[in-house]
Amino acid sequence: MLSVKNLIDIDDLSIRDVEIIMENADTFNEVLERDLKKVPVLRGKTIINMFFEPSTRTRISFEIAAKRLSADIINFTSSTSSMKKGESVVDTIKTIKSMIADLLIIRHSDSGVVNFISRYIDLPIINAGDGKHQHPTQALLDLYTIKKSFGNFRGLSVAITGDILNSRVARSDILLFKKMGMDVSVVSAPMLLPEDISHYGVRIHGCIDDVIKDTDVLYMLRMQFERQDRKYYPSIKEYNRFLELDEKRLNKMKKNSLVMHPGPVNRGIEISESVMNLESSMLEKIKVNEQVRNGVAVRMALIYLILTKE
């Protein structure tokens, strides 16, 4: 049983909580392999999928997870522009309060909005990504993908590359990977790194070549041009030179090492076109599609554990 009733910040989970989620994800993975990929365990439960920020991948992943558990899921989407005023968030919360729901899944473009909402709502909440703050379910599915390949975590080396500054995925991943005993480095440029990153206990590199031979997991962040308020990174050419995974670099990677990416991949930016089109055995290293699939199992596990908690 989980020690928390919400998942807002990945750091709220204990190591045991993470292990329970991983174990349950295995169970749900089996369900996903069936012809009839659905179990009636959450019949009668209502989940509201509140997306204040456009997102298809995460929203659909949660929706599938809920449906495969036989819960009723209602999508509430609202464009950020109509939610600009702070009052609207409070008003929306009041509306939700009057609906009878069992679980809220919230995505918002501003950091901390999920924490803010949780102060006013007594329902369990899962953070589906808030601004540049956190994306805990992505971190859990990333961890699960690593677990499926390596069996354990302790001592694995992970290199996270790219735009750490604007990435909620990076923030959650770093916290979770460190918690589970992995050795984390970041490969980036100063203008793509948050202030005081060294407090997280990660090593910092400037070029992918510094880590490529030794890393067990190469985690490539999406270069989020839409989140860059300031265009300080010089060019794609510069990015390719220092931070892109091309075939030459892929071939230098250790046996059994993995390449991960939260998707969608910017072909020709984080991962070269030729690597994405590979059909050799090297392609097995690239776990992008497996991550998506694992996302459903992990989210099923999480929803199940939260909704069956006393």
Binding site: E87, V89, V90, D110, S111, E195, D196, I197, H199, R230
Partner: protein, 469 residues
């Protein structure tokens, strides 16, 4: 005559008010003595050991006997006794401290434009509650105070209320940082200083011209320092917590660079400049060096920057969104040290009232600022005198005397012939600040739900008197 707690009473003419057994701290005269004070018609008449024995027999009831008495049953210290013929009031102040009332150099009264947050009248109530008898109101109202009409209005209300409000006019039109205002006319109409508070002139050449022109009229410039290229999109101090919380940061360089620029400009132009609400440790260092070099520079810090650091934002509580932002614990410590070492001259509240819905929202949508007029003493005393080893006498100097010095006003003193601007302090009193505490229209205090020590028991401002329960 009814005298009520927790609101401002105006005494009838010829009423004699005697404060008995008070410890009088008067930094200007260098006095710290236990004496009585006699006040009539808002003016101090006598100081010394005053005889009240004969009068005492005619004193029959305290205001504690009125209907609200049960609320104040435990409050025995400042017990007003009113004589039968109602023209004599005795305040027993044994164990309390009496000092010249404070001057808050940085207040937003919100009138005109945002009277739902605060107005001049409610601002005066809040000031008196906080032991403040004079305040500078900032020009970023709607419309802004960039012309003399506004100044005339403020001055007329202040006069009518017999309360010292010193309006600060803007130094650029509409605070846009592009065109200079009519410094000469503004000064003739009551502007005590100039400021674009809330905004900062980015154009260095324009700032240079402003300083030269202000120097001609000997006008003080109150400077809010912010380099927009560092603060744009920013929601909190850039550092470990902004990284952790995923909130865009405002580097302390935003302030440091402008402080540095303006010290250089002041050196060249001989303008008198005052940096308001400084927040970064490097700013303290720069100001210290400038003072050592003999440049006419002063500065203030707010009680909230002295009390809190950026870790407060961890709960995403937008109450702690202020501009400049609460900075790191190292910055906070440097500010405290700056006050201790007289690099920071004074404490000003940056009283910024906001509506509930502007603060009770997400960090991104929330307005910046907290109220502070009513807690300026309690917050400063708690931080500096209780938690650090700071003398009360010096704190009174910082809150009462030095702001007036900076503004070139008469220095306040408790002596016969002076207008009674007296604040009575109970330094051992502790209170949990809640929404009932405030007289301001807004309650966005950074000290909400916090316990503070050292409260104002009463304020006498001319014929106005407020006794706090």
């Amino acid at each position: 005559m009814g005298l009520t707690f927790d609101s401002v009473n105006t005494l009838p003419r010829d009423t004699e008010l005697i404060i008995k057994n008070a410890r009088i701290i008067d930094p200007v005269q260098g006095k710290d003595v236990k004496e009585d004070i006699l006040i009539r018609d808002g003016v101090i008449q006598k100081i010394g050991k005053l005889k009240t024995e004969g009068m005492a027999e005619s004193l029959q009831q305290g205001i504690g006997d009125n209907k609200k008495s049960s609320h104040f049953a435990g409050k025995e210290l400042l017990k007003p006794l009113i004589s039968e013929n109602k023209n004599f009031i005795k305040l027993e102040a044994e164990g309390l401290i009496v000092c010249p009332s404070f001057l808050d150099l940085h207040v937003h009264l919100r009138e005109p434009g945002n009277e739902d947050e605060e107005d001049i009248m409610s601002g005066i109530q809040a000031a008196i509650h906080g032991g403040v008898s004079g305040l500078c109101c900032m020009p970023n109202t709607v419309p802004p105070a960039d012309n003399e009409c506004y100044l005339k209005y403020i001055c007329s209300v202040a006069k009518e209320q017999d309360f010292n409000i010193f309006p600060v006019a803007s130094m650029t039109k509409k605070l846009e940082g592009t065109e200079i205002t009519d410094f000469g006319i503004l000064k003739e109409n009551g502007a005590i200083a100039l400021s674009d508070d809330g905004c900062c002139v980015q154009d260095s050449r324009l700032m240079y011209e402003i300083m030269k022109y202000a120097a001609q009229f000997d006008l003080l410039l109150i400077l809010h320092e912010e380099d927009y290229s560092f603060s744009r999109f920013g929601l909190m101090h850039e550092g470990f917590y902004s990284s952790k919380l995923g909130l865009d940061g405002i580097s302390s360089l935003s302030e440091i660079l402008m402080v540095q620029r303006d010290i250089e400009l002041a050196k060249r132009t001989k303008a008198k400049i005052h940096f308001t609400h400084i927040s970064a440790k490097e700013s303290v260092e720069l100001i210290k060096n400038a003072k050592d070099d003999g440049i006419a520079v002063t500065c203030d810090v707010t009680p909230h920057h002295l009390s809190f650091d950026d870790s407060e934002l961890e709960s995403y509580d937008a109450l702690f969104k202020v501009n400049p932002p609460l900075r790191s614990s190292a910055d906070r410590e440097a500010l405290e040290k700056g006050v201790l070492e007289d690099v920071i001259d004074i404490i000003a509240s940056d009283h910024a009232p906001h509506l509930e819905e502007e603060k009770n929202t997400t960090i991104k949508n929330a307005a910046s600022g907290v109220t502070g007029l009513e807690t300026i003493f309690a917050a400063s005393f708690t931080r500096l005198c209780c938690k650090s080893n700071f003398s009360l006498n010096k704190l009174i100097d910082i809150l009462s005397v030095r702001p007036r010095k900076i503004l070139g006003l008469n220095l306040p003193s408790i002596k016969p012939g002076e207008k009674a601007e007296i604040t009575i302090i109970e330094q051992d009193r502790r209170k949990l600040i809640n929404s009932d505490f405030f007289s301001s229209k807004s309650i966005n205090s950074a000290f909400m739900n916090k316990e503070l020590q050292g409260f104002i028991s009463g304020t006498i401002n001319g014929r106005k008197i407020r006794i706090n329960s």
